[in-house]
Symmetry: C2
Subunit: 182 residues, 2 copies
DNA sequence: ACATAGCGTTTGTCAAGGCGAACAACGGAC
DNA sequence: GTCCGTTGTTCGCCTTGACAAACGCTATGT
């Protein structure tokens, strides 16, 4: 998909949602309405400052150029979900949400048992991992700088290097939010 | 902060991280290296297609123009973190990670006590909420369709409508991942 | 020492973005 | 009906982004 097409749709959508006319938005953003007109028509190749001005005027995040999938509800009960067997280990990982194709984030629930160690290879460059400990204690983080975590602890670290998950207590439950680059 | 400044920094950072020379990146992206040079110098006002090409060549998310804090480790111990007082209620919410301006997601830890109800107004259109229950029981979700959750339950629902957080058990701890539209 | 190759910078040219004004289309006031 | 305000479009003009080429610079090899 070409960028300008996405922008055209997004701009039309956001502007109508904001209830602004072309002229009004143009004045707000400090742009010429002709510019906006062309952009909504899917023509041209706007500069960032132009887009920045539009985004600011509409008070939307800059990433509004991408389409948003219609939201839906999803409920995964404690026992449910499709477990993922990682490399034959008996680590129980459940994929709670592999975000819509657009949003690059996955949510997992990990169940670790005593002494078990999960060695994770480096993920794609730029990947970020967010770990939240629900119960138990675990050693988590980059292989060269892991942290010992207890219930309620939150730890964020780059996932694009080798890292480990290791239960210290008898068992540990933790939530993992993986954030991919695009 | 002006957009071009952010881009300059981000470009420098990402390119060096990728280990690419200006010339190499230029060829990859199908751009002139002079263009890249100027951008890294913080000059100019690139068009989207240019940025799009750069992002594709670097294989990074388009939102790399913001921010950005080079990936760093962050550890928030159970007791720590700056609590957020929501509208005078005694709900304890801790902002664990307010993602860099580019990546639209925030991570919170909520501590609810019995009977307490948190009414949340509608967030920006397209917002998504991911809730993970660490302990206790709570009623969570859109005001017209809440779900009763127990430990380990995961619930995802649109955050762009009024919704509630209500503890059922004596106390409940849950993690909230808010995902903003892009 | 010289030459070579790569790096990132600066320069000049050309195409294209952004602007303002003029434009037609629509609706409400009177 | 005519006027007025607003809508979004299309039209030259000027500025500027993007390009290619030439530039200086630093290693590296012979």
């Amino acid at each position: 998909m070409t960028p300008i097409t996405l922008i055209a749709r997004a701009l039309k959508r956001e502007r109508s949602k904001a209830g602004l006319s072309l002229s009004a938005l143009a004045e707000r953003a400090g742009l010429a309405k002709s510019t906006l007109s062309q952009l909504e028509a899917g023509q041209g190749n706007p500069s960032i400052e132009t887009l920045w001005a539009i985004a600011s005027a509409l008070d939307v995040p800059f990433g509004f150029l991408f389409d948003t999938a219609p939201p839906e509800l999803t409920l995964v009960r404690a026992g449910e979900g499709t477990p993922i067997s990682s490399e034959g280990t008996d680590l129980k990982a459940v994929l709670l949400s592999n975000g819509p194709p657009g949003s690059r984030r996955d949510l997992y629930r990990f169940d670790l048992v005593a002494g078990m160690t999960r060695d994770a290879a480096a993920h794609p460059q730029g990947t970020m991992e967010h770990v939240l400990v629900a119960s138990g204690r675990a050693r988590v983080g980059p292989k060269d700088a892991p942290e010992e975590l207890g219930p309620g602890d939150y730890f964020r670290f780059p996932g694009d290097v080798a890292h480990i998950y290791e239960a210290i207590s008898a068992e540990a439950v933790l939530f993992l939010a993986m954030e991919f680059p695009r």
